[in-house]
């Protein structure tokens, strides 16, 4: 302790040994402050935080420079969720004594963790919002807000108290009691908490008592019936035990019958219904599966149809390439004819045979211009020679009266050499001699028309005249 006048360290004397000023009363004030501090510390140790706050404030009223008291007060505020009040105390403490002061560490602890500082501020703001909501009558919203506050800081005593008060206002006494018990765990000496708790317990207790007394009364009521007969009071038990016998047997049988009826009429239909529902649900499931399968089948069938159609198209393409209409055969024959023509032996009859295999239909309908060009070229190249050969063999067959062969060969002779009027004439004669008058007449007419200056024209006219109309 130092002298308030000169700052010298004081001794046990009631005056300053340095400046001589009277310090007796001053010492008493400081001692009083210390006494309050000690009491505050004791209360804090038993978690009577409200009591401790009261004592520490008293202490600081006597001695504002009591660093330990101020730091402890800050700690208690912090414990109760009053972080800003705690910081204020620590800042003042640090300001009074800057060195060797634990308040500095407390301040650093909070300030170094920005997230913690933010949480503290958020908590306080939410609490203030909840209080505003209470004042506006929005109690449900206030409850929600306070629950959020207590999630952030479960030791916020004021929030617990306010929440408990709101629960009390709703007559939700159990919840209120829980909140108040939480308050007491933090601060066992808070007057408001104790008052609320007392009220809550009073509200909870009477109902139990009433309930128990009601039960008791009911029990009394049903135990016996009092009757008076003259001067005597007859006490008749309400539920006298009846002797077991036929009645008991009947009652048991009746009970069993009722039980069976209940089972049959109440429980069984329910069971049946539930089983039916289950079966219906199962049927519905199977129906859905069936529908799905049917849909799959239809889809697959459609796919098969598409594939069949595609197959047909492909088959047609293949046929086209393979030459269903004789294209491939015709090409092969033309190539064979060309090869035979190019061969050194130059067997023109062989060429002709290959060319003869090409069908007239193909030549007239499907043959390409290139095909026809080569075909015409080969026909022209071998035409005269082949015509001559066929003419000779046809004539020979005619002489042998083999008109069929003669007609065939002479036709070819004329085909390969359309200038061969003799072949045409003998073709007509062969028809004539074979009895095919029409074709004979046609052949003679063609000779007259195509070869008007032929030496055989008169013979042809004579034959026509012979044929007549």
């Amino acid at each position: 302790m130092e002298c308030y006048n000169c700052g010298c360290r004081l001794s046990e004397m009631d005056f300053c040994t340095n400046c001589g000023v009277d310090v007796g009363r001053y010492k008493k004030i400081i001692f009083m402050a210390n006494r309050f501090y000690n009491e505050g510390l004791d209360r804090a140790n038993v978690r009577d935080l409200s009591g401790a706050i009261h004592c520490l404030r008293q202490c600081l009223k006597f001695n504002k420079s009591h660093i330990d008291a101020r730091n402890l007060l800050g700690l208690i505020y912090y414990e109760m969720g009053e972080s800003v009040a705690a910081l204020s105390e620590w800042v003042i403490s640090k300001n009074i004594r800057s060195d060797k002061n634990v308040a500095g560490e407390y301040i650093n602890m909070i300030q170094s963790n920005q997230g913690r500082l933010e949480t503290i501020n958020t908590t306080i703001k939410k609490y203030n919002v909840a209080l505003n909501l209470c004042n506006q009558g929005s109690y449900d919203l206030a409850v929600i807000q306070l629950k959020k506050v207590l999630n952030l800081n479960p030791k916020y005593v004021k929030a617990h108290q306010l929440l408990a008060l709101l629960f009390m206002q709703r007559n939700d006494w159990d919840k209120a009691k829980k909140e108040l018990e939480r308050c007491l765990k933090i601060d066992s000496g808070d007057i408001n908490t104790l008052r609320y708790l007392k009220e809550t317990e009073q509200m909870l207790a009477p109902s139990d008592e009433k309930g128990s007394s009601k039960k008791k009364a009911k029990k009394d009521e049903i135990t016996a019936v009092y009757k008076t007969s003259g001067n005597e009071v007859i006490i008749q038990p309400l539920n006298p035990k009846e002797p077991l016998g036929l009645n008991a047997f009947i009652q048991i049988a009746l009970g069993i019958l009722i039980g069976l009826c209940v089972t049959y009429f109440v429980i069984l239909p329910g069971k049946v219904q539930s089983t039916r529902d289950e079966l219906n649900a199962e049927i519905a499931t199977y129906g859905e599966e069936l529908d799905k399968k049917n849909s799959d089948i239809l889809e697959l069938q459609s796919r098969i149809s598409q594939l069949e159609q595609s197959n047909l198209n492909l088959q047609e393409d293949v046929d086209v390439y393979a030459g269903t209409n004789g294209a491939m055969d015709a090409n092969n024959n033309l190539l064979a004819a060309a090869y035979a023509y190019m061969d050194e032996t130059q067997d023109e009859l062989m060429v002709e045979q290959y060319l003869a295999l090409i069908s007239e239909d193909y030549l007239n309908q499907s043959a390409s211009p290139e095909f026809m060009e080569l075909y015409g070229y080969l026909t022209m190249q071998i035409g005269n020679s082949v015509s001559e050969t066929y003419y000779e063999s046809g004539l020979e067959a005619y002489n042998q009266m083999d008109y069929e062969t003669a007609i065939e060969h002479l036709q070819k002779a004329y085909q390969y050499d359309p200038t061969n009027d003799e072949a045409l004439y003998y073709l007509g004669v062969s028809y004539y001699d074979s009895g095919d008058i029409n074709n004979a007449k046609e052949a003679f007419n063609e000779l007259i028309n195509v070869f008007p200056e032929s030496a055989l024209i008169n013979k042809a006219r004579q034959k026509i005249e012979e044929i007549g109309d």
């Binding site: 009277d22 004030i29 400081i30 972080s83 009040a85 204020s88 003042i92 009390m168």
Partner: protein
Amino acid sequence: MITFEEELKKFHKSLEIEDAENAIYNQDLTDMADLFIKLVKDYDEEEEE
């Protein structure tokens, strides 16, 4: 019997961090020791007069 409205009036807003500076500056730090010293000084001055 506790009245809700009356009890609600006892709850006050908590100080937010923004208000801490003002709270510190506005805190009355005068203690008994200050008053005593002032009284002694006043008494001494009166005696001198």
